[in-house]
Symmetry: C2
Subunit: 362 residues, 2 copies
């Protein structure tokens, strides 16, 4: 029997081993990235039921042939309407308790299921399963590595555009084009190119503003390979940097380097966030660091673990995470420095390739 090379059968066994501890007989997956992770199905919609005696992928008619091609050792069920399909599949089993992803099911479908499945206990359990994809296997790491390499290669070809007179949008369009030309399936997320005052917003949309001498230029970008994302932020100065830009860059870089130095298996995510935050707060800039220090990256560009002050996650070897402190001075500019790394037993390996030293482009 053919196996989809990207999906290890151990993934489903790992999930099955969680059933007992959660006191349910089966799990219903609705997050399409989890469905992909567990089965190899790359369509955009579907649901997956995994129990001791069930492995069942439900898809609509658009995806039946694709599912049969991509997925093995899992039964395929075609539905016309999703809630009806899930209901029919569950009624056909003798399951009495099913855990489901409550952040991935909408209330409309939930109410339909509750009405029709009166004798089945539907147990919400997103929190418990949101880390199933956090530790990556070798194949996944190779895809993420490739995505980071492609993104880096593409960025290398657009430096020539980062100069006075060129608009944010023009740079973003060229970068996106070169990312897919370099072999990515798509860009990882809407590329951010934020210049001057626009860089003071952490999530600016590239617009018509043109670069001027002395501008900060922040580029947050990535590539997707075999469904796996990369994520990196580079912040440059164009022409001539002033004292404050130089100082803040140095502070953010210090926070980035110190947080990175804390990354290894067993470290708490809130501890890593604390390192970066303390460093920036030390210079009285804490109020300008308005987001978490990082996040996991994989089939989603943002996934578990969260590296933030209230995170309960603990780093494990094989996780891929970003470290991305930033300082955003309202009305002026912002600086963010982001690398993506593999967590190792005793440290980390940086996957993103652009050097993060203070760089003035001429």
């Amino acid at each position: 029997m053919r196996h989809n090379s990207s999906v290890s059968p151990q993934r489903i066994s790992k999930v099955l081993s969680r059933l007992n501890s959660h006191n349910v007989e089966a799990l219903l997956f609705l997050d399409i990235k989890n469905v992909r992770y567990l089965t190899g199905f790359t369509g955009s919609d579907g649901a997956l039921l995994i129990g001791k005696r069930q492995k069942l992928l439900m898809v609509d008619g658009r995806y039946t042939n694709q599912a049969k091609r991509e997925v093995h050792d899992v039964e395929i069920f075609q539905y016309r309407e999703k809630a009806e399909g899930i209901e029919a599949v569950i009624l056909d089993t003798s399951l009495k308790s099913i855990g489901f992803e409550s952040t991935a099911m909408n209330v409309s479908n939930y109410m339909k299921l509750k009405k029709k499945l009166k004798s089945v206990k539907l147990k919400p359990m997103s929190h418990e399963i949101d880390t199933i994809r956090a530790v990556k296997d070798k194949m996944e790491l190779s895809y993420i590595r490739k995505a980071a390499d492609i993104a880096h290669e593409a960025l290398g070809t657009v430096y020539e555009f980062i100069k006075p007179g060129v608009s944010e949008k023009d740079i973003a369009i060229e970068l996106d084009y070169r990312i897919v030309r370099a072999g990515a399936e798509e860009v990882s997320f809407s590329t951010i190119v934020a210049t001057g005052v626009n860089s003071s917003q952490p999530h600016a949309t590239p617009g018509s503003r043109k670069i001027k001498n002395g501008d900060v230029v922040m580029i947050d970008y990535g590539a997707v390979c075999n469904g796996y994302h990369s994520d990196e932020t580079c912040t440059f100065i164009v022409g001539r940097a002033d004292k404050k830009q130089t100082e803040v860059y140095s502070l953010v870089k210090e926070a980035h380097d110190k947080a990175l130095a804390g990354v290894k298996a067993g470290a708490t995510c809130k501890g890593i966030d604390h390192i970066a935050r303390t460093c920036i707060e030390g210079e009285d800039m804490g109020k300008y660091f308005t987001h978490g220090t990082g996040h996991g990256v994989g089939l989603d560009v943002h996934e578990a673990p969260r590296i933030a002050d209230k995170s309960e996650h603990i780093l494990e070897a094989g996780m891929v995470v970003t470290i991305e402190p930033g300082v955003y001075i309202p009305g002026a500019w912002g600086i963010r420095i982001e690398d993506m790394v593999i967590v190792k037993e005793n440290g980390f390996e940086v996957l993103t390739k652009v050097p993060k030293d203070f760089t003035v482009l001429h």
Copy 2:
């Protein structure tokens, strides 16, 4: 007071007029496109509460400044966590019954709200409000028209790539690039370029397959302007068409033209679907027409009304819909012909610009 030029204040009044008939005191919007439609807010996350005495937009810290810039006559509330924000806002009112979009709220947030808002009746009502954006105003029509023009202009520059030896992915990359270069904010959806046997899947992903002489080449593409989408499918033959391709194209074109001729205010959507379907079934190809005949287009590329056999929608002047019958012969190829039109009192106006006559490219 400044008004966002893209949002008519009548939109909120229209929604308010629905309150009485639905027996609720306020409506909670979670579909971010509805939030944008009613307020002008273009961020990617938020919630909107509209009641007789409330107009309240809730956003997280990333979007507070943007919301203040974009939205007027609506109060802005910043939350750290969405369900907590909604809860705090509602507790601060004396509202006892609130309708909410049940297809846009996840079960996790719903359970949190139910727990904290014990004395408030939360009434699911997606079906009732899914048509609020269906009839477009002049400004919206101008954006959709512009999107269709840009897409058309971009396609005109890639005909040179539609020839033997060029891959689907190469054509899609060039087309996407030219769509944004021509002024679109982004492409309307993942562009489909499906050649040869791949065109037998209605939703193929562009891949490495290279065009050969005699291939069908199906291109489904669009542009986004000011948030508004366009949608058009062109199917060409490269080199030399065989008899069956010529016949099936002619059949699909007939279904397309007949369905289009039925488009006017007052026509039922299921009736339009029936026209196209009957035409294709007449040649015993009904089993190969595996999707609905069309859909509304606006802030989402797929929105109300649905033009399908079970749709209860009725066309109204100012709606923008696609007409897109298709025939997909397994293992061989498929043909889809899609135009996007404005519904008029006594007919329609086609917005998509590529002529849909049978075209063999050399």
